[in-house]
């Protein structure tokens, strides 16, 4: 039983990634602070990265594609954050606030 638990395989990684993804999604949906939303977005990105690495390690025989993809993904994530921070800065200059509640002009 214990053996089974500690015998870590693909499935465990996938569960971890899923939990992480949903934590991230939950955070994105409920938090009011824009910076917090960005952090939670990073959670979701990381979850996807874990999926890539897990599949690469357990399924792929060449074990290279997934790793390379995760590196790309990390880089894209960094760029994304840079862009997002600039946008947030501009938003802050506009309304002196980083609360997402204040940005609801496009309602129906």
């Amino acid at each position: 039983m214990l053996n089974n638990i500690f015998n870590i395989g693909l499935f465990h990684y996938l569960i971890l990634a899923m939990v992480l993804f949903f934590i991230g999604a939950f955070g994105v949906i409920i938090s009011k602070n824009i910076i917090k939303i960005l952090i939670c977005l990073e959670f979701m990105l990381t979850a996807v990265n874990i999926n890539f690495i897990a599949f690469a390690a357990f399924v792929d025989s060449v074990k290279v594609n997934g790793f390379i993809f995760s590196i790309f993904y990390t880089a894209i994530g960094a760029v994304e954050i840079a862009v997002a921070l600039v946008i947030f800065y501009l938003m802050y200059r506009e309304k002196k606030s980083i609360n997402i509640e204040n940005y609801k002009e496009l309602n129906g």
């Binding site: 999604a25 997402i100 609801k104 002009e105």
Partner: protein
């Protein structure tokens, strides 16, 4: 001669190019002088005259000469619709008649319309009319006939409504066009029905448009393969085209309104050529109609009823052009009678003699109207014989011919009468003489009122040009007398003279004592208001208006109600769904997450169920 016959189709094209040239020249301001327009029109019509004479000589020399030349115009799967020309004696005779009258009327209108602002437009229309009329005459099959039939209707509409700024004129043009359209619709239905009969029963693809070359054989085939009812229906539908175009009994009111157009137009279109196109079509389709006695009787009855109604209406009219219009209408009725009871040839002869005489009368009426300062009421005219002697004597030639005393009118009238007697149509013969009596009466009444007695109103000297042009027509009226076949029956001549003298005396007495005559209420109204034809028309149009009103209510409350409900549904749903648009990015994200989860979950569920069941079985 064969050169003229083979190239006769240019007669259709040249007037069209002339019309186009005049219109485009006006549009681009290249042609500004009336002289250029005159030259173009004159050249095109003279060209047509040469070709018409050439072709006429050919058919005169060779008896029974027939020539057909067609080009494919429209090919739809296996059906070929062709345009081209079909030339026989009737074609060239009618073409020559139309060209001569057209030429004389054009020369006349060069003077008559000289001061009109839209001079150029008028001549463009006249050329356009020539184009459509010649196309109609040369048509080798019903397809081309129909195309040019409509074109003739359109040009007639344009010319009636030439002074369109006057409301009553444009109304008259519209009415003429609409009544013609009613007939044309029935005509089209007849063409389609005959095409269907040929296709369904004979399977003859090449002759669905009734080419006139094979007319007798196709008519016999149609008659052979249809039941009586269907055959009569087809013929009556085809007949309706002629009835509308020649202003016969149920659809005759438009011709009187058409007199609102310029007088040369009345002379050319509404007395001599276009209205005769209906009779022309009758003659063309005579092989078909003559197979059934019922159809011939219907044609005769329509003709004689029209002749009686219109002659009776002409008795009390006071408008100079209206009298002539009713007279035209009555004579067209007699042509129908001649087709129905005698033969196509006699009808064609009567058409010819009437066309020249009536064009002559209309041209003189135009001169008289100008001389009377555009006053058309004959009660204000009078004594014009001393001012316009040439007009008065030319007019006398015209009415003597139309009354059937002398000249070409005598021959055609006498031929109809003797043929009616020979065929034992005694009732028609008696009614025919009644019409003849009334014809003499109203024509001489017009003469007495206009040319005799004291000068009542202002008088303006018309131009010489106007006075002398009708003489050309008078030459034809007299000259045709010598061309027409003669059959001298002394009894009929005597009878004719008696009728004529009686009518003349009655007319003179009625004119002499015009201030003492009491108007018999009902009979006078019946005549003056043309058997209340306009009231009947109004009644019918009122019924139609009621129907339109009901339909408009249905449209307003039922159709619009439905569309209102539909729009309400859209608005409510839009209201509901717009509430989901909070403007908050997080809510959008949660929608998309939820949708994605449910759709993926649903897919997984379906997939696993499919696998499960496939394994179970």
């Amino acid at each position: 001669m064969s050169f003229f016959v083979e190239n006769l189709y240019t007669v259709i094209l040249i007037p069209f190019w002339a019309a186009l040239l005049i219109l485009l020249g006006k549009l681009f301001a290249v042609i500004s002088s009336k002289k250029v327009v005159n030259i173009i029109t004159f050249l095109s019509t003279i060209y047509c005259l040469f070709f018409a004479i050439g072709a006429f000589t050919k058919t005169l020399v060779e008896k029974g000469f027939v020539y057909e030349n067609v080009i494919p115009f429209l090919t739809v799967s296996k059906f070929n619709f062709t345009l081209g020309m079909y030339i026989d004696g009737v074609t060239t005779w009618f073409l020559l008649l139309a060209v001569i009258i057209s030429l004389i009327v054009q020369i006349y209108s060069m003077a008559y319309m000289r001061d009109d602002l839209s001079y150029v437009r008028f001549f463009a229309y006249l050329n356009l009319f020539n184009f459509s009329m010649f196309g109609l005459i040369l048509a080798p099959n019903m397809f081309q006939i129909y195309v040019f039939w409509e074109l003739v209707g359109v040009t007639s509409y344009l010319l009636i409504g030439f002074w369109y700024k006057n409301r009553s004129v444009s109304d008259a043009a519209k009415r003429a066009f609409i009544i013609n359209r009613i007939g044309d619709f029935a005509f089209l239905a007849g063409i389609v029905l005959s095409a269907y009969i040929i296709l369904a029963n004979l399977g003859n693809v090449s002759s669905i448009t009734l080419p006139f070359v094979e007319m007798p054989s196709i008519s016999a085939q149609i008659y052979g393969c249809t039941s009586d009812g269907i055959f009569i229906l087809t013929c009556i539908l085809l007949l309706f085209g002629s009835i509308a175009k020649s202003a016969q009994f149920p659809l005759h009111t438009w011709l009187i309104d058409a007199m609102k157009g310029p007088t040369p137009v009345s002379a050319l279109i509404h007395s001599a050529t276009m209205v005769a196109a209906g009779v022309f079509l009758l003659i063309r389709l005579y092989p078909l109609y003559s197979l059934s006695n019922i159809i011939l009787n219907i044609i005769s009855i329509i003709g004689i009823v029209t002749a009686l109604i219109c002659s009776y209406s002409a008795l009390t009219q006071t408008d100079i052009k209206k009298i002539l219009a009713y007279s035209t209408n009555a004579q067209l009725g007699l042509m129908f009678l001649a087709v129905g009871s005698c033969s196509a040839t006699i009808s064609l002869l009567h058409l010819t003699s009437h066309a020249f005489a009536k064009a002559l009368l209309f041209l003189i009426a135009g001169t008289v109207i100008l001389a009377m300062n555009s006053n058309q009421d004959i009660r204000f005219a009078g004594g014009l014989r001393r001012k316009l002697p040439v007009c008065a004597y030319t007019y006398l030639v015209g009415i003597i011919s139309l009354s059937g005393l002398l000249f070409s009118g005598y021959t055609s009238k006498e031929m109809i009468f003797s043929s009616l007697i020979q065929q034992n149509h005694y009732i028609f013969a008696i009614l025919f003489e009644v019409v003849a009596f009334m014809t003499v009466y109203y024509l001489f009444r017009l003469y007495f009122y206009t040319f005799e007695g004291e000068l009542v109103s202002d008088y303006k000297e018309p131009k010489n040009h106007l006075v002398y042009t009708p003489i050309l027509l008078a030459f034809f009226v007299v000259g045709l007398w010598f061309v027409f076949p003669k059959s001298a029956n002394l009894l009929i001549i005597l009878f004719n003279i008696v009728i004529f003298v009686l009518a003349l005396i009655t007319s003179y007495i009625a004119y002499r004592f015009r201030n003492n005559i009491k108007k018999v209420p009902l009979f006078y109204d019946l005549s003056y208001r043309a058997f209340f034809a306009d009231d009947v028309n109004n009644f019918i149009s009122n019924i139609y208006c009621c129907l339109v009103k009901i339909l408009s209510y249905i449209e307003k409350y039922i159709c619009e109600g439905l569309s209102y409900i539909l729009s309400l549904c859209v608005r409510i749903s839009a209201f509901i769904f717009s509430k989901f648009q909070t403007g908050n990015v997080q809510s959008y994200l949660s929608y998309s997450l939820l949708i994605m989860m449910f759709s993926f979950g649903g897919l997984l569920l379906v997939y696993s169920l499919v696998i499960y069941f496939s394994e179970v079985q």
